[in-house]
């Protein structure tokens, strides 16, 4: 379809104006505006954490915006829940399928809207027939009567698409629908999206795959850090221009990493693989070095970290710490060998929210601090004080529950907990996600200091500026594979982003 399709000049179907949404202290969206025109596919692109998924949730009625307005056909639209969004004709295909495993595929498609017969009973035969018809339109064969449990991810995604089709949506929102689909299935999905457009619907398409974006969409909106950057006709843009808008920021001043003398190789990973998750991952980290593991969400970075640390098993390859092989599958042995892992999800994996700051800070060292198996309060306190002071944790007292601290300070407590084990190798997953700018700088300064003291640091980060500012080397993963290694000099926004989106040859 050419960008000058007949719908391009009609009045917009759905308009968002000045939409703002914060979660706690973190602003996910700041005054975003967006207009979806009938008969057009509109792409929404941006880095991880740019606010795309929040925008989708607002359109789906799952989040209410803090400020700003939505309008449908020029009339104000208020979405108090997912049911309202459906009633307004907005269908959403989420990144993660949301099916009911116990129910049949047909019921999953028509839940709450099943065709009825006399006495308002569900007409099961008609429902199965309608579902089969939808699948025929998509060109796939899935038995409508089978349970959704056991469907492959791609099939689940197809059921989601059938669901969205089934209620003749006027606005179809697709949040990275193609991640699990093959080329043929993507073509079919695009065929369906185009036919919806021809009938006057509007499509909002979110994807990291630029070839698909340029293939399907007539307009492209770029978000960065929760703010609107630009909206242009696709015909006026190039992939280069879009990538530059996604990342365009002055980064060098923000994240200083002092040059530390490089020491011996501390962590060596060779040919690490886990069926279906990642394969043939090899890299080394030397003392005094910060190595960043970059890539898009779902590229397998956290999974690699968890496998190295022994939380998850791996099928192939080996991990060596200072030349000694590290047995797989044992976090305890990993800690003993001098590894520490600061996980991405602090609340679930890093902290016991109800316990005090000092308890949390010394959690990983209970054994070393105890006398005859009993924890001695004094030893715990001294230890906790040492690290919380060094990390400048802002808390009224060490006995306060961790849940009462801000996100940034919680992150510092997690760091304190692992630094107290005196590791030689620190693996840190998204060190500054969801924390304010000031604390971010403190965490970065601390990481730089630690590297200076000879630690080997492997940092997983989805924030490009952080990667570029902090890392001595950047390893880029794409769909479970290590696709590129960039030196500090080679790494810039464009080269990392190109590699992360699977366009390795460029840059």
């Amino acid at each position: 379809m050419s960008p000058d399709s007949p719908g391009a000049d009609r009045a917009p179907l759905l308009v968002l104006e000045g939409v703002t949404k914060s979660f706690g202290a973190v602003a996910a969206l700041r005054g975003v505006h967006l207009a979806l025109h009938p008969g057009e596919a509109h792409a929404l692109v941006g880095e991880n954490g740019a606010g795309k998924s929040t925008l989708v949730k607002i359109l789906a009625g799952a989040h209410a915006p803090d400020a700003g307005r939505l309008a449908l056909d020029g009339r104000p639209l208020e979405l108090r829940g997912p049911a309202d969004a459906r009633a307004a004709g907005i269908a959403v295909i989420y990144q993660e399928p949301t099916l009911f495993p116990d129910l049949s595929v047909a019921e999953n498609i028509f839940m709450g809207r099943q065709p009825l017969r006399g006495l308002r009973r569900i007409d099961t035969a008609a429902m199965n027939r309608d579902a089969a018809r939808l699948f025929a339109r998509l060109g796939v064969r899935i038995d409508p009567t089978r349970p959704a449990r056991g469907l492959s991810i791609a099939d689940q995604q197809l059921v989601e698409i059938a669901k969205a089709l089934s209620f003749d949506a006027r606005i179809l929102v697709m949040d990275e629908p193609t991640a699990a689909l093959s080329g043929v299935e993507v073509e079919r999905l695009f065929g369906v999206a185009r036919s919806l457009c021809e009938r006057g619907a509007a499509v909002l398409f979110i994807s990291h795959r630029f070839d698909e974006v340029f293939d399907l969409c007539q307009r492209i909106t770029v978000l960065r850090d929760g703010a609107w950057v630009s909206t242009d006709r696709t015909s006026d843009l190039t992939v280069d221009a879009v990538v530059r808008r996604m990342v365009g920021r002055d980064v060098s001043s923000l994240y200083p990493k002092q040059d530390a003398p490089l020491r011996d190789t501390l962590l060596e990973v060779r040919g690490l693989g886990r069926a279906g998750v990642f394969s043939d991952v090899s890299f080394t980290v030397r003392g005094g070095e910060i190595v960043a593991l970059a890539g898009l969400v779902g590229a397998g970075r956290s999974e690699v970290a968890r496998a190295v640390f022994g939380v998850d098993r791996y099928d192939a390859g080996e991990v060596r710490v200072a030349g000694e092989p590290l047995p797989a599958g044992s976090p305890r042995r990993a800690i003993a060998a001098g590894l520490a892992l600061v996980p991405e999800d602090r609340r679930q994996q890093g902290l016991v929210m109800e316990l005090s700051v000092e308890r949390n800070a010394t959690l990983a060292r209970r054994r070393a601090l105890s006398r005859l198996g009993l924890l001695v309060g004094g030893a715990e306190r001294v230890e906790a004080q040492r690290w919380t002071r060094r990390l400048q944790v802002k808390t009224s007292r060490l006995s306060a529950a961790v849940a009462t601290l801000s996100g940034g300070n919680q992150q510092k407590v997690v760091l304190a907990k692992w630094l107290a084990t005196e590791p030689r190798i620190l693996i840190i997953d998204e060190p500054t996600r969801g924390i304010d700018v000031g604390t971010k700088a403190e965490v970065h300064r601390l990481l730089s200091q630690l590297a200076n003291e000879g630690l080997a640091i492997l940092m997983i980060s989805s924030e490009l500026p952080e990667v570029l500012g902090m890392a001595d080397r950047v390893l880029v993963m794409h769909e479970g594979r290590m696709v590129r290694e960039l030196s500090r000099a080679e790494a810039d926004e464009t080269s990392v982003m190109f590699a992360a989106t699977g366009q390795g040859a460029a840059a």
Partner: protein, 353 residues
């Protein structure tokens, strides 16, 4: 993860055709049907063995006693099914039954001329009110139903004891017409059992054929997805507890009519039997699957085991052990079926890929 760049159109087509289309329709229904069939078979075998040992087990009076004995448990198990299907549990049903039963007796004591249908409606209403307390607390406190209803189990029982203050209500205090409800038969079938059958049929059909019923399964199957697809999860769960309470209220009135003698301890410990009946009947404790029919059959089976072991003069200790073994067998069977289904589905999609 990355079918994307490796899959050619050909092996894609292979994957599709080796997959789903060969499965005949009605897979889930057949599985469920098998479950209810196996319960019926177990029930038949049990009756047969017991009758061979003692032929009076199938006499008219004995069957009548059996049907009478299981009616109340069946009604409670059906109410419990509604709750468990949504991934919740209602432990307060025994206490609601006791409270309503004593209340019904007191009502007749206070107003001897009261027509029994009015008492029945009042009992159901009181049960529904108790259920609304459960549902309201769960909605407001956002605490698992297990904890809330464990609390109200003691709270409702406490109210019952406070009110009864050691008194006992006897059959003589209640009108003859009401007591007849508890023992009367139509064509040899106890009225109590007929009421239970009606309850099973109505709830069972609602769960299967109405949007509201299917939404309960959706909630239990994947609560987050239910919310995203616009199902009013909070309201539905509240309604389910009201319904469970109302059915416990109905059971309480019928309990009063059947036994005549009432004190504050009526129905103590019944809730565990009710959950056991539902689980044996194939209602998955994690929600999302099971039917009212299955739960009702489970209740009948448990009651029959009780009386047949008595007829066979087997120590009551063994009765408990058998019930325990049955629950474990039911759960084991569910797990086995789930694993086999999953393995088969996986096998099919792996072959073509």
């Amino acid at each position: 993860m990355s079918l994307t760049d490796t899959g050619t159109p050909d092996d894609l087509a292979g994957r599709r055709s080796s997959g789903d289309d060969r499965r005949r329709p009605g897979f889930t229904e057949r599985l469920l049907a098998v479950r209810e069939l196996s319960l019926l078979l177990a029930l038949g075998a049990l009756v047969l063995v017991t009758t061979l040992r003692n032929d009076r087990f199938l006499s008219g009076q004995s069957v009548k006693d059996l049907l009478l004995g299981c009616a109340i448990l069946v009604i409670l198990a059906v109410g419990q099914t509604l709750v468990i299907v949504t991934r919740n549990v209602d432990l307060s049903v025994g206490s609601i039954l006791g409270l309503v039963a004593f209340c019904t007796g007191s009502l007749f004591l206070a107003a001897p001329g009261l027509p029994w249908p009015v008492a029945l409606l009042l009992g159901v209403a009181l049960g529904a009110l108790c259920g609304a307390v459960n549902g309201g607390l769960i909605a407001v406190a956002k605490v698992p139903a297990l904890v809330i209803t464990l609390g109200t189990l003691y709270a409702f029982r406490g109210i019952d004891y406070y009110w009864a203050a050691g008194r006992q209500i006897n059959a003589a205090d209640m009108p003859r017409s009401f007591l007849r409800l508890g023992n009367q038969t139509v064509l040899g079938v106890p009225v109590l059992f007929l009421i239970a059958v009606v309850v099973v049929a109505v709830v069972g059909y609602y769960l299967r054929a109405y949007r509201g019923g299917r939404e309960l399964y959706a909630i239990g199957s994947e609560p987050a997805a239910a919310r995203l697809s616009g199902i009013p999860v909070g309201r539905r769960v509240f309604a389910v507890f009201v319904a469970s309470g109302a059915l416990a209220g109905l059971a309480g009135v019928l309990y009063a009519a059947r036994f005549g003698t009432l004190d504050a301890a009526a129905g103590t410990g019944l809730e565990l039997q009710v959950v056991a009946a539902a689980v044996v009947g194939g209602v998955a404790i994690f929600g999302g699957s099971g039917s009212a029919y299955g739960a009702a059959l489970g209740a009948v089976l448990l009651t029959t085991i009780g009386s047949s072991l008595a007829v066979l003069r087997i120590d009551p200790f063994w009765q408990q052990a058998v019930v325990g073994a049955l629950i474990l067998a039911a759960i084991g069977l569910d797990r086995l079926l789930a694993l086999r289904t999953a393995a088969r589905l996986r096998g099919r999609s792996a072959r073509g890929a």
